[in-house]
């Protein structure tokens, strides 16, 4: 049943060509492609088949799945029924225990070399027992499942870069999917959690074109992560004018000025929040008056306070400076005293010279000659 094309499926449901084109229009928008691509998307979808998807959840908080279920265009139901065949997702599926694991093995077997693996959560390596599913360690399940997959999508910052479990001191020895899967086409869809429509958009892209989209150097699809929050922020003009909120309730904050001074990490963060927004495009963090945390960037948990401006160093530099002052004063004093001593010695070694001395020397020299 997975082998039907999407067009055939829609036709069976009595969807007209107009309906199909409308569907393609929404899908093109979802994939963040320009509207001129609608006909290309329609053409691709005529032959596209629903891929089997195996969703693995490791060291995660289910926030990414929660985010996915908030996708409304397409809805999660629409996604599962029309776009993909979600064959394994232990949070969403009805089956549990042995039946659930059977479904995973079946999907892997039947769609060998063609199925898509989606991972949320990081993988602990210190002790495989830190996180297991049906008695199988995360690392073993990942390696086994990925072996015959066509591609892997790491959803969420934990799967993409290690995320919260990987943050210092990383007690479980957590690693990202890319650390363990070096040889498969891999798409990172980071975010804590990712924007719902970014997750579905990436899935739709794979379904439509049967290939992974163009990625940046951190493995993120450029259509969604190509521009920084700062570049797409509607408050950008205030940054350029030098108008900043200095506390969360001052006049500047009320006027919607730039949140840079309050620690916004927008300049260093690449994500689609500024355009796709959250909660059915209602708003997004900066629009609600809070700076960006940088959650789609590697190690954002270790990148210092969320409320410290990006230009402020993050280390304990006051302490470093304190030690330097102590050492500088100490050694400076010693150096000063040594210099004084050198000077005193030099003064002491000076012998007085008089005109007579020159005369004597002259005579001596003459005698010598």
């Amino acid at each position: 049943m997975n082998r039907q094309t999407l067009l055939e499926m829609l036709q069976q449901q009595g969807v007209t060509r107009r309906g199909f084109l409308k569907y393609c229009t929404a899908l093109t928008s979802l994939m963040a492609l320009p509207p001129s691509m609608v006909s290309a998307v329609a053409e691709a979808l005529e032959t596209a088949r629903r891929p089997s998807v195996i969703w693995l959840s490791f060291q995660e908080c289910t926030g990414c799945t929660e985010s996915l279920t908030r996708s409304y265009s397409p809805t999660i139901e629409g996604l599962i029924f029309d776009h993909i065949s979600l064959d394994y997702h232990h949070t969403l599926q009805a089956a549990s225990g042995t039946a659930a694991e059977l479904a995973r093995e079946q999907a892997m077997h039947e769609n060998k070399g063609k199925y898509l693996v989606v991972v949320d959560g990081s993988i602990p390596l210190d002790n495989p027992g830190f996180s297991t599913i049906a008695g199988i360690s995360n690392v073993a399940m990942l390696k086994e499942t990925v072996a015959n997959a066509v591609a892997v999508i790491a959803v969420g910052t934990c799967a993409a870069y290690g995320g919260l479990p990987h943050a210092a001191p990383n007690p479980t020895g957590a690693v990202s999917v890319s650390d363990l899967v070096p040889d498969k086409p891999l798409i990172n869809v980071p975010g804590c959690p990712p924007v719902p429509s970014v997750i579905t958009g990436v899935l739709a892209h794979f379904l439509t074109f049967g290939a992974i989209p163009e990625l940046d150097e951190l493995g993120r699809p450029k259509v969604f992560y190509g521009q920084s929050i700062h570049d797409r922020c509607y408050r950008r003009s205030f940054y350029d004018k030098g108008l900043f909120a200095e506390s969360f309730d001052d006049e500047g904050a009320k006027k919607g000025w730039c949140l840079y001074r309050l620690g916004c990490k927008g300049p260093m963060t690449y994500n689609a929040c500024a355009t796709l927004k959250w909660n059915q495009e209602t708003s997004w963090p900066v629009e609600s008056g809070h700076g960006c945390l940088g959650c789609s960037e590697p190690n954002f948990w270790d990148a210092g306070s969320f409320y410290k401006a990006l230009s402020i160093p993050d280390g304990d530099y006051a302490r470093a400076a304190g030690y330097a002052v102590a050492a500088g004063v100490g050694i400076g004093a010693v150096a000063g005293l040594l210099n004084k001593n050198t000077k005193a010695n030099a003064v002491a070694k000076h012998s007085s010279v008089s005109v007579d001395d020159f005369a004597v020397n002259k005579n001596n020299n003459n005698e010598g000659a």
């Binding site: 409308k22 929404a26 408050r235 355009t275 059915q280």
Partner: protein, 132 residues
């Protein structure tokens, strides 16, 4: 209250603007010029814009309401509203649940999707034949 979109957005500080309004109006202007000269069709995806609250409503007001409004029912409702600027269409697609799934501005004589489609005509022929 049915939906988030039912919450009315009131813009109390028009000074907070992203500057996108002006650039979209400019884009529409140039697209309309091209439509007249070369019959080029142009579409703008409104979803891909970093709007501030209420900016999109402002654009709707700027463009105004024109003479033609077409309602389509295919996998949910769609509204094709001609704006007060002839050749500029405001298009909203909804899904079966009534959520907006896509919003576009199309600069064309008539939105493409309105025309009867080859495939649909073929299947209509089939069905008619059965009624002969």
């Amino acid at each position: 209250m049915q939906d988030l979109s039912d919450i009315k957005i009131i813009v109390d500080d028009p000074a907070v603007q992203s500057g996108n309004l002006q650039s979209i109006v400019t884009e529409i202007y140039h697209a309309l010029k091209k439509l007249l000269a070369k019959k080029n069709i142009h579409r703008i995806d409104l979803r891909a814009m970093p709007w501030t609250a209420g900016e999109e409503q402002q654009l709707e007001q700027i463009l105004g309401v024109g003479e033609v409004k077409i309602e389509m029912n295919a996998m949910g409702k769609s509204i094709f509203q001609e704006t007060s600027y002839s050749g500029v269409w405001w298009i909203s697609h909804y899904n079966d649940e009534g959520d907006v799934i896509s919003r576009l501005i199309e600069i064309s004589y008539l939105p493409d999707m309105i025309f009867a489609q080859q495939e649909d005509i073929k299947s209509a022929l089939e069905r008619l034949k059965n009624n002969l």
